[in-house]
């Protein structure tokens, strides 16, 4: 029976028929999706912190309005993804608990600090750029609610990357100090952005299954290469340099070759020892705990209103 259901399931996936919440699915498919989607949601939520750091210090009203809109979008993206994940049978409260206890992770990129205004530009260009590279194929993920959430997210994400590039472009045409700031931000964000695609394919044990289930459409290394190829060209418009002496066009592969990735740093940050891991998690937990009375008061108010309506009726 289970074997037959698994075959029907895989047939549907192979024929690009989306899986919907009430359809039969293998336990491991459900688990993989819950892990991936909740991590993705957490990343959107934690991702508000490094950028929120610059809202009060944005250099103009235009930049400030843009940054607020972007951070609000990230909150929205987190909410789309949490509610899509809930269709798999996990509650919102459980997911939040898992974030706070460290049981599920969020993208390591948000464990790096935003030291200058140029970092907001670099995040838009590189971090959102890498995220888009990852997310566009997810719009065709086999799980319907995930794919639909991703379509919404990708539509909104495009402005995020463009506003970031515009910030860097402005700085790149500014004073010597502004140019230095621009290059410094690129220098600090480049490698963490390259690592956002995750471990190399040979050290990514889940990739094969995820590709077979059409949760993933491309491997980590394929997406990483695509990202590097695009950025290696775009950086010329800024007149800046990518901090990789080995970055070089390869006529044979028709791709850019690039230098070795520092995987020790990657695992170190994943395992909680990045520059801001503790600060980020502490900020999330504090916001959640200090907001508890609001959540309780809203429920109490809704219940009181319901009682009054009954009395009148």
């Amino acid at each position: 029976m289970a074997e037959q259901q698994e075959k029907i399931f895989q047939d549907k996936v192979d024929h690009e028929i989306r899986i919907e919440p009430k359809d039969w699915m293998p336990d491991q498919y459900r688990k993989t999706l819950i892990r991936q989607m909740s991590q993705h949601a957490h990343s959107e939520i934690v991702g508000m912190l490094p950028e929120g750091n610059w809202i009060t210090r944005a250099p103009s009203l235009r930049r400030k309005a843009t940054l607020i809109a972007k951070v609000q979008d990230e909150a929205g993206h987190g909410l789309y993804l949490y509610s899509a994940a809930e269709t798999l049978g996990i509650s919102r409260a459980e997911m939040i608990d898992q974030l706070h206890s460290g049981k599920t992770k969020y993208s390591s990129i948000f464990n790096y600090p935003t030291l200058t205004w140029a970092d907001i530009g670099a995040i838009g260009w590189l971090v959102d750029g890498a995220a888009i590279m990852n997310q566009v194929p997810l719009c065709r993920a086999s799980y319907g609610p995930y794919a639909r959430a991703m379509i919404r997210i990708c539509k909104e994400e495009s402005f995020h990357q463009r506003q970031g590039f515009e910030i860097l472009l402005t700085l790149s045409k500014g004073s010597e100090e502004q140019k230095r700031m621009c290059q410094d931000a690129i220098d600090r964000w480049w490698w963490p952005a390259v690592m956002m695609f995750g471990p190399n394919d040979e050290s990514s044990p889940h990739t094969k299954q995820s590709v077979a289930w059409k949760i993933k459409r491309f491997t980590n290394d394929e997406l990483r290469q695509k990202f590097i190829d695009v950025c290696a060209e775009q950086v010329h418009i800024l007149g800046m340099k990518i901090p990789d002496p080995d970055l070089k066009w390869n006529e044979q592969t028709k791709h850019y070759d690039f230098g070795a990735i520092n995987w020790d740093e990657f695992w170190n940050v994943v395992n909680g020892n990045g520059p801001c891991n503790k600060e980020r998690l502490a900020a999330r937990i504090k916001a959640h705990e200090e907001g508890a009375w609001v959540r309780e008061a809203a429920i109490a108010y809704a219940e009181k209103k319901k009682r009054k309506e009954k009395v009148i009726a």
Binding site: Q72, D73, A84, A298, K306
Partner: protein, 95 residues
Amino acid sequence: MSNKDWPLWEVFIRSKQGLDHKHAGSLHAADAQMAIENARDVYTRRMEGISIWVVESKYIHASNPAEGSSFYDPANDKAYRHPTFYDLPDELRNM
């Protein structure tokens, strides 16, 4: 500290006058008014809607996908409900 979620609501949005409300997604809210306001913030930040419906998810009843083939079976063999079923000469115009 309470860790109970607010009730879950399904959100339906009419994107413009003359079109149907379409399912947009879901969200948590303490009551209907808050659900509508949250839906505005979560699902219509770029003028995607002019009207919002919300309904608590627990009130939605759905057909069972496992029974799909038998449930929709009655319509399966009734090709004569479609206009292409009928053999008519090519010279017949405006029909």
